[in-house]
């Protein structure tokens, strides 16, 4: 599976890229510029997923004191931050084309920036603590607190007036007319980016595990 999985990720992302740039039809008002949306939405979804993993892993670390969960929490936060930055950049490109400005102080844009800052703070905080046990314990609490930014980000478009598009899969009477080809492309790209995230997550966890092993071997040699 370790060897096959990267190949699956590669094929899925290749298929998604084909659908994004060649298969999906141009949009009526935004033309080809709207294709950035197929990167923006999956990145946003993956960043929420990554931060949820950080939140759950933080709870599990505090409960079990198993360093495995701390490793998952920090790796996931790092990748979540990366995808959050991609979301903000692609969102700004979309905003420039659709609304004329890169930054509109829209509630969703602003709260996503806050979300990014929250996890940037989480990662900086981890770097500022040397003791492994103390770092894991205290940053787990921060991992739980930082998660509060996520419902705020999601609810911002519902509570405050926004120019950001409403959720694509509506829960109420709102029904947005989406062409089947666009919806299929969006679902494929979301699936492909999720697979990519899971692979990156595995690689990051293994990388941190190796760094930990090297550090402990070095410490033993010093003793």
């Amino acid at each position: 599976m370790k060897k096959i999985y990267p190949a699956i990720v590669f094929i899925a992302n290749l298929a998604a890229l084909y659908m994004i740039f060649l298969w999906a039809p141009p949009e009526r008002t935004l033309g080809d510029f709207y294709r950035v949306f197929f990167i923006h939405t999956p990145s946003a979804w993956v960043s929420y997923l990554a931060f949820t993993i950080t939140f759950l892993s933080s709870i599990l670390y505090l409960k079990t004191r198993n360093f495995k969960w701390d490793l998952y929490a920090s790796s996931s936060a790092l990748l979540g931050l990366l995808f959050c930055i991609i979301t903000i950049i692609t969102g700004a490109i979309w905003a420039k084309v659709a609304w004329g400005l890169y930054w509109n102080w829209d509630p969703r844009q602003t709260t996503t920036l806050v979300l990014m800052l929250a996890y940037l703070g989480y990662i900086s905080f981890r770097m500022a603590i040397n003791d492994k046990e103390q770092r894991a314990r205290v940053s787990s609490v921060l991992g739980i607190l930082a998660f509060i930014s996520i419902p705020l980000s999601y609810l911002s478009t519902i509570i405050w007036a926004t120019i950001h598009p409403m959720p694509l899969i509506p829960t109420s009477k709102l029904q947005i007319g989406v062409e089947p080809a666009i919806l299929q492309t969006l679902l494929t790209s979301t699936f492909a980016v999720t697979l990519l995230f899971l692979w990156m997550f595995y690689v990051t966890v293994e990388m941190y595990r190796t760094i930990d092993t090297i550090k402990s071997v070095k410490m033993e040699n010093v003793k």
Partner: protein
Amino acid sequence: MEDEVSHNQITDFFNDAWQILLKDLRLELRRKYEIYSIIILAFISNLSFGFALGPSNPNVTDFISGMLWVPILFIGMLGFTTGFVREMDRGSIEGLRVAPISPQAILAGKTVYIFLLMCGGAIIIIPSSMAILNYSFHSNGFLVLLVIVLGILNIAVIGSIVSALAMYSQSRALIIPALSMPLLPGTIIPSILATGKLAVGADMNSIIPELQINFAFLLLMIATLWITFEYVLYD
């Protein structure tokens, strides 16, 4: 019998929190220069805004929310560093850890201390700003007070946990803004929006969404900290 036990626990909780608060207030009163710093900060910020806007600027109401919240937030930052970080620097954190006090009571005492410090700052900032910049909230005075007290309470809760987390890091004073800024927008954004609306004469109905968010945020923070704070305080 069970009722009596739970009643005693509640009384103990408030007594312990009160003792922590008294201890911090006594320490603060010994360090009068910190109180003077707060007063100076409040006046400097008002004077700076006054010079920037000029006398009797008709558009002053558009900027009131920012002009009030920026100095209040900075006073909060001063309070954050004097919370748990000071206990760690003085070595008295070990005393708190072994004291027969629940961690939640310690957190509550510290939160109320930061809250009072910020309220003290707000008491200086708001009237002096009204006098220097020539504006008033007319009939919205009570609502402004409600928004400010709720916002300060939220900031105090965030400040006490940020101070507790920061005491473990190497660069304590530097990590506080990095830790607090991501948590603060959840309350600062609705507070600024609500104050801005009230400054231009909006009524209670128009600030309900902001009040709801601030209440929800406060409850969420208190619930989370109630469960997790002992992991922060004890090894």
